[in-house]
Amino acid sequence: MTVLLRRMLGIVPTLAGVVIATFVLTRILPGDPAVFFTSSPTADAETIEAVRQKLGLDLPLWQQFLIYVRDLLHGDLGNSILTGQPVLNDLMQRLPASAELTLAAFLLAVVVAVPLGIAAALRPGSLVDHACRLISTAGVSLPTFVTGLLLIYLFYFLWGLAPEPMGQLDPFIPPPARVTGFLLIDSALSGDREAFVSALGQLVLPATTMAIFAIAPLARMTRASMLGTLGSDFVRTARANGLRRRTIVVSYALRNALLPIVTTLGMVFSYMLGANVLVERVFAWPGVGSYALDALLSLDYAPVQGFMLVMAAVFVVVNLLVDLAYQVIDPRSGLLSHG
C-alpha cells in the first residue's frame, strides 16, 4: 500500500512543474491581449491601459503567477476572450467530445493492433506476420492529417459511404438530452436511434484516422514482446510439459508479454492527446483541441493555458495508471508481497 501511495505522491512535483511551465509558456506568447480585446480603431492608450489593468496584466510576473495559482486552486481558469465564458466551463462543455473521439480511437487501435501482433508472433514468416510488419512501419509514416484527408476523399467523396465531415452530429438532427456529454451514450440512454446512428457515422472516420497512427507502434510492440516471451526458457518448459497451446499462449506467453505492451499503451494515449488537435481541425470536431487552437491563433491566452494544463494533467494521471498496472501485472515490483 505504501508503494501505491508513494507512486501517487510522486506525481505532485511533476504537476507543480506543469503548472509553472504552462504559466511561463503562455506569458511569453506574443501580442498584447489588451490590444486585441479592445481592438476597435478608436481605442486609445487610456482604454487599452484600463483593459490591461482589468485583466491584471500590469502586475509584475511573479504576482501574476501567484494570482494564477490562487485562481487555479479555486477552479478558476480565467475567461476566454473569444467566447466570453469561463475557460473551465468551455472545457467541460467540449471535453466529452474529445474524450469520446480519443477513447473510440484508442479502443479501435487496441482491438486491431494487439490481436494482429499476437497472430504475427504465433506465425512467423506468414502473411499475417508480413502484414503486421508492413503496417507497423507504414503506420508511423502516415501523418494524421494526411490520413484524415485521404479517408475523407475516399469514403465521403468517392464512395459516398461516410457522412460529411462537419462535426459530431448531422446538423439537421437535434442532439440528445445531455447526460454525460458523450453523444453515443446520451443518445443510447434516451433511446434516440437517429442521433445514435448519426453520431456513430460521424465518429468513424476521425476515430479511424487517429487509430491508424496508434496501431503501428502497438502492433509492433505486441509482436516483438510476444516473440520474446515465446522464445523464452519458461515457455520451453511449458511446452516440454505438454501444456496445451492455448494455455501456453495466454497464461504463459501473453501475460508475460503484457508489460511492455502496457507501457506502449501509455505512450500511444499521450500521442493521441496531441493528435487530437490535428484531427479535430480536419473533421471540424467540437472538442477541446479545436477550442485551444482557435484560441491560440487569436492570441487568447486563458483557453490555451487551461487546455495545456488539462492535457498534461490527464497524461500524468494516465502514466500513473500505467505504472500501477505494471505493478499489478509483475509481482517482482513489490506491490503485492509474499512471505
Binding site: F234, R244, I329
Partner: protein, 323 residues
C-alpha cells in the same frame, strides 16, 4: 537389463540450418535406457548432449532437421509422433529438468500454480485434488513448508530451491523417463549434492528411469549405472560406469578420465585434451570426428562407416584403433 529397454535410440542424425551453413550436430547417435536405470550422457560443451535430449523431447527449434533415426519409447517412435500425441506424452510419461532453474520457471506465476498447471493438464480433477497433488509433489522433493512455498514466485527462491521446483514439476505426473540436462549448473557444490541426491531418490521412488546429461564425469560416475560418452555429435563409447572407468576403450574417454581431478592420483597427472571440437559446418569432416585430435590415428580411421563394436561386457566403442 536384458528386458526390452524403455528407450531405444537408433541412428539419430540431426542437423541445423544456419546463415553460415548446415551444422551436422548429431550423427548416428545410438543408445538405450533400461527400466529403472539411470544413464549418464557425458561430453564437452558442444558435443551434442543437449541436442539429443531436445530431439527426444521434441523441443528442437525450427532450424533443426532430424534427417534419420528412431527413438522407440514404450513402443512408439518419439521422432515420428504428431504434435498432439507428443503433447500427451510430454510432462506425463517423459519429462525434462532444464539447466538454468530460475529462467526455466515463469517469473510472474507462483511456483505452485505452475506445477498445478502440469498436473491439471495431464490428470484433470477437482481443484482440491490438484492442490493436494501439488503439495505432494513439493514434499517429494523435500521442500519445507510446502503450502507457503507454493505461493512463492521464482525470484523469491534460491537457485537450489528453484531446481527442486523444476524436479517436482518434472516428477508430478509420475513419468517413466526423466531427462536432466545439466541440472547442477549454477549451483554451489553443496547444493549440487543435495539436488542430485534428491533427484536420484525421487526417481528411484517413482520406479522411473533417468538420463543425466552432464560434462562432469565425476558426477556421472557417482549417480549413473551406465555412461554414454559423446564427442562432436557422435557416441564414442557406452559402458557400465565401473567398466568404463576401469577399461576405457576410446582414446577420447581415456583423455577425459585423465583430465578429471578425482580420477587421477595427483594434480600433476592432470592432462588437458589437445585441440578443440571440429567445426561441424565443414563439408570435409572426417569419418571419426576425434581423429584430428588423436595420436592413435591411422589411415583405417578414415574408412566409413564407423559403427559401435562390442569390446567387453555390455561395452560398445566406436573406434578403429581402440585401447
Amino acid at each position: 537389463m536384458s528386458a526390452v529397454p524403455l528407450l531405444a535410440v537408433d541412428d539419430l542424425t540431426v542437423s541445423f540450418r544456419t546463415r553460415t551453413g548446415a551444422v551436422k550436430a548429431l550423427e548416428h547417435v545410438s543408445f538405450s535406457v533400461g527400466r529403472g536405470e539411470m544413464i549418464g550422457i557425458v561430453g564437452e560443451s558442444g558435443s551434442g548432449k543437449s541436442v539429443t535430449a531436445f530431439a527426444l523431447m521434441g523441443l528442437l527449434d525450427a532450424a533443426a532437421r532430424v534427417t534419420s533415426g528412431r527413438a522407440d519409447f514404450e513402443g512408439r517412435d518419439l521422432l515420428k509422433l504428431r504434435q498432439g500425441e507428443l503433447n500427451e506424452l510430454r510432462g506425463r510419461d517423459l519429462s525434462i529438468v532444464f539447466q538454468n532453474p530460475r529462467t526455466a520457471l515463469n517469473p510472474i506465476r507462483a511456483v505452485g500454480t505452475q506445477i498445478a498447471d502440469v498436473i491439471a493438464r495431464h490428470d484433470p480433477g477437482s481443484a482440491a485434488k490438484i492442490r493436494a497433488r501439488t503439495l505432494a509433489a513439493l514434499q517429494a522433493v523435500r521442500i519445507p513448508d510446502p503450502e507457503r512455498r507454493a505461493r512463492a514466485y521464482p525470484f523469491e527462491l534460491s537457485g537450489g530451491m528453484c531446481q527442486r521446483i523444476g524436479i517436482a514439476m518434472a516428477l508430478a505426473c509420475r513419468p517413466r523417463l526423466l531427462i536432466a540436462d545439466e541440472p547442477t549448473t549454477g549451483l554451489d557444490v553443496t547444493t549440487q549434492a543435495v539436488v542430485m541426491d534428491l533427484f536420484r531418490d525421487a526417481v528411484r521412488a517413482g520406479g522411473a528411469s533417468a538420463i543425466l546429461i552432464t560434462h562432469d564425469l565425476a558426477l556421472a560416475s557417482e549417480y549413473c549405472d551406465r555412461i554414454v560418452v559423446m564427442h562432436a555429435g557422435h557416441v564414442v563409447e557406452t559402458a557400465p560406469t565401473a567398466e568404463l572407468f576401469r577399461h576405457p576403450r576410446h582414446p577420447y574417454t581415456a583423455k577425459l578420465l585423465g583430465s578429471v581431478p578425482s580420477a587421477v592420483e595427483t594434480i600433476d597427472d592432470l592432462a588437458p585434451i589437445d585441440g578443440s571440437l571440429p567445426d561441424l559446418r565443414r563439408a570435409d569432416l572426417p569419418v571419426c570426428r576425434f581423429a584430428e585430435r588423436c595420436e592413435r590415428r591411422r589411415p583405417v580411421c578414415d574408412t566409413a562407416p564407423l559403427l559401435p563394436e562390442p569390446c567387453g561386457p555390455d561395452h560398445l566403442v566406436s573406434c578403429r584403433v581402440p585401447l
